[in-house]
């Protein structure tokens, strides 16, 4: 078994003084594809902040056995100001900034890499367009390009399937499948139906974390994990999601 990229041990975390997560254990290995589910306020986002190192745990330890990995991040599109005067190219380039070098200027190599990625993500010719002129799906692609431009070993996605058209959703999952060949993926979602068809394992986060080493969920499993989410998925439900009740 390879060494984990990120190893979380007995972590307890609080947000604004209120405890959100207790006793969390999680290992993220290369090529993992973990779907993270759980109710709102259950601590999904807090856990991702722990992984990034922007929130320090109160108790427990986060370690990186083979050095601190590069982590890419795709936030919820709805959280961003779509009218902000920034171009697609600048958004993608912002993914290249990193601790210690954030004040350095960019090289033509950086720009070329960003332009290539913009084309690969189906945004050819839109590099100099302000983000306000993009559709939801196009903005999502730009943000995905920003998340992966620094060749991360771990990619964290926060609800990538909200506010995105159905057309793009399918493409996004295909893209993620391809990216998973070279990076571990940590996908937060409320839409259990869609995610369980593409992820390899499932983590249920509700105050603490229950790891389910398979992508098939049953009502019983959710009950045991104390994960009060709705198994009735919206739209076409892939039949792998639910096991038949006997």
């Amino acid at each position: 078994m390879p060494e984990p990229l990120i190893s979380v041990r007995e972590v307890t975390a609080a947000y604004n003084g209120d405890p959100v997560l207790t006793d969390v254990d999680l290992d993220i290995f290369p090529n993992d594809f973990i779907g993270v589910i759980g109710p709102n306020g259950g601590g999904k986002t807090t856990l991702s902040k722990i992984l990034f190192g922007i929130l320090k745990p109160q108790k427990g330890k986060v370690s990186f056995p083979s050095g601190r990995p590069n982590i890419g991040y795709l936030p919820q599109v709805s959280r961003l100001d779509h009218s902000f005067p920034i171009t697609v190219l600048d958004v993608v380039l912002s993914g290249l900034s990193s601790k210690g070098t954030w004040w350095r200027s960019l090289t033509s190599g950086h720009k070329k890499k960003a332009l290539n990625l913009i084309t690969e993500n189906g945004l050819e010719g839109l590099a100099n367009r302000p983000v306000g002129t993009l559709s939801g799906g196009q903005l999502q692609r730009a943000l995905l390009a920003r998340a992966i431009i620094n060749d991360p070993q771990v990619l964290v996605l926060d609800e990538p399937n909200t506010f995105v058209d159905r057309n793009f959703e399918g493409e996004l999952y295909q893209l993620l499948g391809k990216l998973n060949e070279t990076m571990a993926i940590f996908l937060i979602s409320h839409d259990i139906g869609t995610i369980s068809s593409i992820v390899k394992t499932i983590a249920c986060v509700n105050g603490t974390l229950h790891y389910h080493p398979s992508n098939v969920l049953t009502d019983e499993v959710l009950k045991v994990y104390n994960c009060p989410i709705d198994l009735i998925a919206h739209g076409p439900v892939p039949h792998r999601v639910l096991k038949k009740h006997t």
């Binding site: 991040y73 961003l80 380039l93 900034s97 960019l106 367009r129």
Partner: protein, 272 residues
């Protein structure tokens, strides 16, 4: 009429006024683009009005009113930034409280100051024609510092303004950058109060920017565009004010708004 215009430039006070208008417009072009892009115009209004408390306190204590205004403005700017990060109080209500409290403190101190009472009208509506050498040097110094910060840290400033959470995951010093920007905003506003007055100052930080935004959706272009619109607008406004003998700040706002409306109208006609 041309003779009248040219003869105006012979006066020291008018030269000072034009220099102040130019420098203020350039400063407001950078800071205003940030304010408008981040949608913190209301916060800036709070900072502006809170600084009046500092002006009043400085008069009461016999200090330089500029220093009092800077102290109040910076404290308010950092305070609001802190409130919006901690999120325990409704941000817009907090701004309204600071806004009115600042004005209240200012008026109390001014009334308590024995003897000479400063001209309230000049604080509220500006007095660009009474600007001195010293004011211009300070304005120039703050303009240079602000321009240097924008040139050196242009990308990090935009990145943290557009998506602070992502910037944090990339290891950018988001809090530091935001605090520096809050201080620069406070300085720029206080220095512009001299020209435009507390009530009218936000015009320089919003109208040219919105005119420039009619033409471009890029942060950098908006800065350059609002610098041009701001400089032209304030110089034309100043000349108009002198010819018609009306207050300079009011004339500047009128010209800035006229620019916006003309360009907007032109674009609408072209699109038909």
């Amino acid at each position: 009429m041309m003779d009248t215009l040219f003869s105006l430039f012979q006066y020291q006070f008018f030269q000072n006024a034009v220099a102040t208008a130019l420098l203020t417009s350039l400063l407001a072009a950078m800071i205003g683009t940030y304010i408008v892009s981040r949608k913190i115009v209301f916060i800036s209004g709070g900072i502006t009005h809170a600084s009046f408390g500092g002006i009043g306190l400085a008069y009461f204590l016999g200090l330089n009113p500029f220093l009092g205004a800077v102290a109040f403005a910076i404290t308010t700017a950092l305070g609001i930034e802190w409130i919006s990060t901690k999120g325990k109080i409704r941000e817009d209500s907090a701004i309204a409280i600071v806004w009115s409290l600042g004005m209240a403190l200012g008026i109390i101190f001014v009334f308590l100051t024995p003897g000479y009472t400063p001209n309230l009208m000049s604080f509220l509506f500006g007095s660009i024609l009474s600007v001195g050498r010293w004011d211009i040097w300070i304005l120039l110094a703050v303009l240079v510092v602000t321009a240097l910060f924008f040139v050196l840290f242009f990308r990090p400033v935009i990145y943290t303004a557009f998506d602070p959470e992502f910037a944090r995951t990339r290891g950018l010093p988001v809090a530091l950058i935001r605090h520096v920007m809050a201080v620069l905003i406070a300085m720029a506003i206080v220095l512009s109060i001299r020209t435009m007055g507390i009530i009218l100052v936000l015009s320089l930080f919003t109208i040219p920017q919105n005119t420039a935004m009619l033409m471009s959706g890029r942060f950098r272009n908006i800065i350059f565009g609002s610098a041009i619109f701001g400089v032209v607008g304030s110089v034309v406004g100043l000349l108009t004010a002198s010819l018609l003998d009306i207050p300079g700040s009011a004339a500047i706002i009128f010209v800035l708004t006229l620019q916006f409306l003309l360009l907007k109208g032109f674009i609408l006609l072209k699109l038909r």
